[in-house]
Symmetry: D2
Subunit: 366 residues, 4 copies
């Protein structure tokens, strides 16, 4: 599998982390611990915050502005962990300066911005990668491996639940807050990526907070099957579960069950194909389905820090071994579904008077 990075003989790559707030420290810590990277600088408008972070990560330089960082420091790459609406501006400046860029999720605040970032990086010949951290967890890597190997057979349905008691975010609704995780994971594990025909979103704001706090996102995938995501900030029980149903086996990922995170059910459902072939359309509707109850299997998962693997993949991509598994295009597919969900919600809201459609038919995204 292409994910595993080789420990290389190359000299360490030089990186700066921009943003020392919530996520930046995690990135900085991992860069500091890696032999493939040298953490050169922490950049933040808040110099004290940057200084505090620098102290815990081997005392890289502390820089107060992006201009200064790009002008004065010899770096190969920039890791951006600032608020989402600033990603585009910072990334574009770094790309223009010829730097490789990894961006905290979401890639950008809209797909136009994201598209521009992808194109600029392509033009500049630099790597643009999204830090979709979940994709580098042992469980998700195993899911990707199983799907790539066709272990589940044809996919039949996907159902993901990500609910908990969460603070209402000031700037985004529950879709933009939580669904990027599910969407980036789907893009990562589905062979060929997340390509949707239609997107339907249903949101609810029972607290009158001015934004959806409960959300259901349904996607008809190119293969015709339905993928469904439930996100919810108001649930007292925390659930992180994804079910991927296949014609041969079905996989359940329960991220909150450390003793059995992944379970593969060797239980298949079959139409009586013999009958179907012989019969006309009417009969086919009556075709019986049989099911088979086989063993259940839970693969052992190794343990490592996902962020460590992510930055290792970033390094490998820069050195040309392969495109990053969560590259800019992948992140763009996620953004486009989120925008389609926005549109679906807006049309529905309009539709309460006019009864128009709330389903957004997606253009081909590739």
């Amino acid at each position: 599998m292409s994910i595993a990075a080789d420990i290389s003989v190359y000299p360490a790559l030089r990186v700066a982390v921009v943003g020392a707030g919530y996520w930046g420290p995690n990135l900085a810590r991992n860069f500091a611990m890696s032999t493939e990277w040298e953490l050169v600088a922490i950049c933040d408008l808040d110099l004290e915050r940057a200084q505090n972070l620098a102290r815990k990560t081997g005392n890289p330089a502390v820089v107060g502005s992006l201009d200064e960082l790009l002008a004065d420091y010899d770096i190969d790459a920039v890791a951006i962990a600032t608020p989402a609406h600033t990603h585009h501006k910072i990334a574009m400046q770094a790309i223009t300066a010829g730097k490789h860029v990894v961006v905290e999720k979401p890639l950008a605040d809209n797909s136009a911005h994201g598209t521009q970032m992808v194109q600029s990086a392509a033009n500049a010949g630099t790597i643009l990668m999204a830090d979709h951290t979940y994709c580098y967890t042992p469980a998700v890597l195993k899911i990707r491996e199983l799907l790539a190997a066709g272990e589940l057979g044809e996919l039949l349905y996907i159902d993901s639940t990500r609910i908990n008691l969460g603070l209402v975010q000031p700037d985004v609704d529950v879709f933009w807050d939580l669904a990027p995780h599910d969407l980036s994971i789907l893009d990562f594990v589905i062979p060929g990526g997340l390509n949707t025909r239609t997107v339907t979103a249903l949101g609810s704001d029972p607290l009158h907070a001015g934004k959806s706090c409960v959300g259901y996102l349904s996607m008809e995938l190119e293969s015709g099957i339905l993928a469904h995501i439930n996100v919810n900030w108001l649930s007292p029980t925390k659930i992180r579960q994804m079910v991927i149903g296949g014609s041969k086996k079905t996989l359940v990922w329960d991220d909150l069950n450390p003793q059995q995170r992944l379970t593969v059910f060797d239980r298949g459902v079959d139409l009586d194909r013999q009958k179907m072939i012989r019969s006309d359309a009417e009969d086919r509707k009556g075709a019986t389905i049989s099911y088979r109850l086989g063993d259940t299997w839970s693969p052992a998962l190794s343990e490592f820090e996902p962020l460590g693997l992510m930055i290792s993949e970033f390094a490998a991509s820069i050195r040309g071994s392969h495109r990053p598994p969560t590259d800019g295009l992948s992140a763009l597919r996620v953004l486009k579904v989120l925008e389609a969900a926005n549109d679906s919600l807006a049309q529905r809201s309009h539709g309460e008077q006019t009864n128009n459609s709330q389903t957004l038919v997606m253009e081909n995204q590739r």
Copy 2:
């Protein structure tokens, strides 16, 4: 609570069970055991099947036709457990003959039929009741009691999951097979019943069986909140779970956990109302939400046979103490949502070319 039936001093009511197939034996057995009822006859076209059932239920008469039953036997009531598409005809004949009628779910195969049954029973002054058995389980009765007492505060959202590996039914899709349970329960527990503004259904037929095998049903209730139901015949894991989120508390019903079927989380989410009052619309969007982690409580549930309570309620209704909690009107509300789901699915299917709406705006159902 009005559900509990008095053991009465009345003479036993006389009942016949029509249909000795899958569900009829359960009804017959409970009528036979009840002191409020006398099981007079089993009626089935298949006389041998009827005879077998009669032997196990105290040897009531065995009758081969409904005409004969209604003409020759002195009965107060008829319990119908035949295929759904025959409910209307049998019930109408029994009502016309002045009999009280209880019908296995669904009440009828469409709402026009159901409406006619309701109206005829009203005109004839007979009781028409639906055997929504789940509503008479200890867990659902307790949920109804908690909601009636306002224990959860304002309802914020409802989410129900009913999935398992199931045989594809020859005559109905997964919505009509499984969702009547959820819908009848919702109608039973929500104060005022299940009244929907809009119904959106998304179905998927990944096996090409000619009908939905995976379904999502979303309802905007009159109160504005979203109720969501997930039904699925293709899931290797069996889940029977309903979450009812309230402004004060949230309830989780896990029907497959006999040791803790109902859990009430005293965890609330609050907008900073003070801030909201002072602020204009823009600020309100930024209002912070705080949450409170309180105790969890799981009420003890008594144990009894739901069907025994159901037929006791049927008797009490006939004797005039109160309308049955799952009367014809209740069953009709369930039918109308299922029909709206049908329409939503049909429009969606059409809409894939024309991009029309798949949401059905419901007329006021009361």
Copy 3:
């Protein structure tokens, strides 16, 4: 595996059930449904109870005394489901009359009685079998199969928990009430049966009920490993769990988890054997143990009525295909451990003054 019984061409064997109380109806129902058996009579001092049971099981004869049954009815076998203290007398009479006998657990009220029954049956050339029903469940049969195949490697420890809120029995303590299940299962699944070196019992009677309501039973098996059983009538949580730890794999049987009753952990613990060989005794104590985290596997289990298989095995034994897997000797081994537990408890109670041993060294039981 020898458990599976052949559907034979023999004429049905003729059986009478003695005792129509709690367990007799289950036996009678299964005999009545079996094509290998003909249920000839129900025998009970309480003729009305016997009559009621006969009505539900195809109307066999109803007999009020054992003498009459053995004298007047042409039967091959007797199934005894009377109180434990009557097992010996009834079984001896039936064996003397040349009948094959199956006895509800426990085989007898003490091992002297049990031994006499075993010897008499051997002398008479009749089959004596114990109805250790649990042994014929799909889960236990699978455990036996896995252990017979050496799937777990060498056994390292066994731990069984059988606790719930239960009524204090008038005639037996918690050991005699619940532990026969665990003991008969262990005898059934351990290759070679349950052979113990020492038995230690610790009981507690915190309610002053005059008998142990909480019990711990530890057995040193012939192989040197420890098997431990916890039984408890006072636990508000119900647990039915057995762990069998092996050098290669470990098996967990959770009988209350229908979705994953059996789980096999491919997780081994290894001493650094290399080091052990080279080192002297002192060093050996410091030998490090490494552990391996492998996959988890849960075998599919078929579904059938255990009692149906038990009576089928009884028939096969009578017809000479093989000894019953839960024969009199097996039941005797269970009795002897229970008696050793009694002795351990008695010595302990004495020992509080005199400080004598509470561990009973078992004579060789074979």
Copy 4:
């Protein structure tokens, strides 16, 4: 409750941490973060390890010997986190120098050493405290509170399970490795502390590692009830569960279930006391027990770092507000049970030839 420490107006107490290995960093970090403490020095023979720790904890002094620490630094207290067999020597030296001392568990490697430490501290008028960290977790504090308030009624039994796949320790067996947690918790939560009449230990060494890897420890408490602890290094499933059964309610603590760590079952078992009073001893044995199935309740638990509370309690004790809840005497009671377990194991091992007792009758420990 006496556990909650007041935020005081006293100047910070001055402390040194001795031992920078596994546990020392946790202590140092908490002292460094506390406003009640000033971390003055880290003392370790391995100066580099001490230096590394000092860098992360505000750069206290780094000292290579205890003599130097006690001679040259102005400190109030010493926190000892060195190997168990060195606790006694280090603590005695610190106590002699007039320092307050907190010691990582176990207090000492044997009870004679522990007794000497307790007496010396008493003579010197200094505080001697054991770092029984578990006792300062929200769950254990809540259990203590519930038991102190008599919420469970009379205690009936206690059962604790602490099993997982663990490395065999070079210096201690599974009892000394794991049971100190259970014992210190029991001493903390049982009103009056852990006072045992007899201790019975059964150990097993199926891997021939030279020490018990599977252990069962039963204690008859002064109240006459049984407390049972199961520890196991060879279990592929990890369990951390304690059940405390009471006459009114029963408590289950499942430390691996973050969503419902504590559950209180309002389920009681009652002997028919009326009958017992009237009846003689024989009848009493037949007294029936009834049980009641009430609600289940799971209290909300606050979240904080237990070690932070522990050092806060240490400070409060020094300032004279109250004795530390896990003082030297408490730790000594734990040591004495572990030694009694040793004796029980030794006698058992001897007893296999001579059939002597393996139960150790405890002297009164207070």
